[in-house]
Structures are given as structure tokens and as C-alpha cells.
């Protein structure tokens, strides 16, 4: 029997998974847009994005637009790869669960 894969714990958290899934479809996204799409609080969102940044899955750019601070998040190649692997592992696990 083939060994079932383990799910990446950094991605497995619901909010972190939602953030990576949102970022995979856009080139870059602002903090406020991510907050509105996930319905998360500033503190929680900031903490989870920091975790993703620490893991190298997202990159951050801070700038001023019309004198207002703006924080932009982009998915990195490592993040894209990790999400792809996570989805594959998830499907494999579900296949195993359905087959069991």
C-alpha cells in the first residue's frame, strides 16, 4: 500500500490556505482587499501573512500611494509550488479516504 502524503502545516491553516488561494489568481493584492475577501481581523491577517512570508510563500512590498501607506502581497514561486503540492496531497488523501 503506498504511503499517504503529509499535509504542509504552514498551508493547512484555514486562513493561510484561503490567502494563498486568493493570491494564486492575482498578480498582487493589497492588505485591505485580502481582509475584505477573507473577513479576517487586521491582527490575525497580519500574523498569518507574516507566517507565509517567513515560509517564503509570499513577498511583501510596502509603498505610499497618494500619501497613503499601501502593503502589497505577491505569491512567490515557492508558494505556488507548495500550494500545488498541497492540493495534490489533499486529493491523494481524499482518494485514499474514499477508497478505504
Amino acid at each position: 500500500m503506498p504511503e499517504l502524503p503529509e499535509l504542509n502545516p504552514v498551508i493547512h491553516g484555514k486562513l493561510r490556505l484561503a490567502l494563498l488561494s486568493l493570491l494564486v489568481g492575482v498578480e498582487e493584492a493589497e492588505f485591505t482587499w485580502l481582509r475584505s475577501k477573507t473577513g479576517s481581523t487586521d491582527g490575525n491577517l497580519g500574523a498569518q501573512l507574516a507566517n507565509l512570508e517567513e515560509a517564503g510563500y509570499v513577498s511583501v512590498e510596502k509603498k505610499f500611494v497618494q500619501r497613503k501607506p499601501q502593503t502589497l502581497y505577491r505569491m512567490t514561486e515557492a508558494g505556488r509550488q507548495a500550494l500545488t503540492e498541497y492540493v495534490q496531497a489533499l486529493k491523494q488523501l481524499l482518494g485514499g479516504a474514499i477508497g478505504a
Partner: protein, 198 residues
Amino acid sequence: MTASNEELELKDRLRLIETMIAEGRRTTISYGWTFVLWGVAYYVAILWAGLGHDYIAWPVTMTAAVVITVVIIARKRCTRPATTTSRAIGSIWYAMGTSLFILLMSFGISGRADQHTSIAIVAAMLATANATSSLILKWKLQFACALVWWALTVYACFGGGKMLTIAFLAALFFCQIVFGIYGMIREARARHQGDNHA
């Protein structure tokens, strides 16, 4: 956690991924207002030029329209993320708009604008941009606008006189102003659905 609960949780994660990817891709760029703005700008320039101020009507109106467009786009860009599709379509219109601006400014200032040639060029350029966007978006209505502009290109080469001006104004009205207002309504609906979803 039982096997069944674990399976439900995994399925829940998979659903979350699908929903969020769809949500990110559903992000719509706001474009309808640009059609309306430029449609109105052309009308103003044509009417102003018709009053005998040819040499300032086009440069002033086109510059004002560019400034308004840049300011509004800069403000809107603050909150909405860009997708690859939105950047591709934005690039087409940016390139076409720049070419059109340079052309109309040069025609306006030099005073060498022949009605047939200028309308034929403007219509062909608008047809190209509309057709490219519609093929990317698979949007038949926008392709219909491209067909109108292509028809006007041909008419400008063969027809003429007052009828050509009327045909140009009619194409501007339907393919810029009416189409733009329709686009704005669609965007408002999409935003409303997005708000309800979030």
C-alpha cells in the same frame, strides 16, 4: 478525530481553495467609465471643432480626457488587485489610447486632418482594440462594437460628407457611451454579488 470527520475536513479545505481561487479571478476591473468618458470627450471635441476652433478643440479635449483617465485609474488601482487578464486588456487599451492621443493631437495641431483619413484611422484602431479585448474575454457584444468600427472604417474610405460625420457620431454613441454604461451596470452587479458573497 474519526475517519469520516477527517475526510469532511479535507473536503472542506478543497472547497475553500476552489472558492478562493474563483473569488480572486472574479475580481473585475472597472472599465465602463473609460468608454463613456472618451465617448463624451470625442463628442465635445467634434462639436467644439465644428464651432471653428479646430486647432485647440482636439488638443485641449484630448489632454483633459487623458488627465481625468490617469487620475481615476490611479485612485482605483489603490484597492483592486491586478490579474493577468486585466493587465493584458489594460495594455491593449493603453497602447491604443497612446497612439490615438498622439495621432489626434498631431492632426489637431497641424491642421492637416482630412475627415475621411482621420475617421478611418480612428475607427480602425478602435475596432482593433475592441476586437482584441472581446476575443480575450470571449464577449460577443464587444465584438459587435468592433464590427461597427470596421464598418465605419470602410465607409470612411468610400463614403463621405455629412453622412460620415453622422455615422461617426452614431458609432461613438452606441459603441462608447451606450456600451460603457452597459459595462458600468455589469460591473455594479458583479460588485454587488461579490459583496454578498464575501
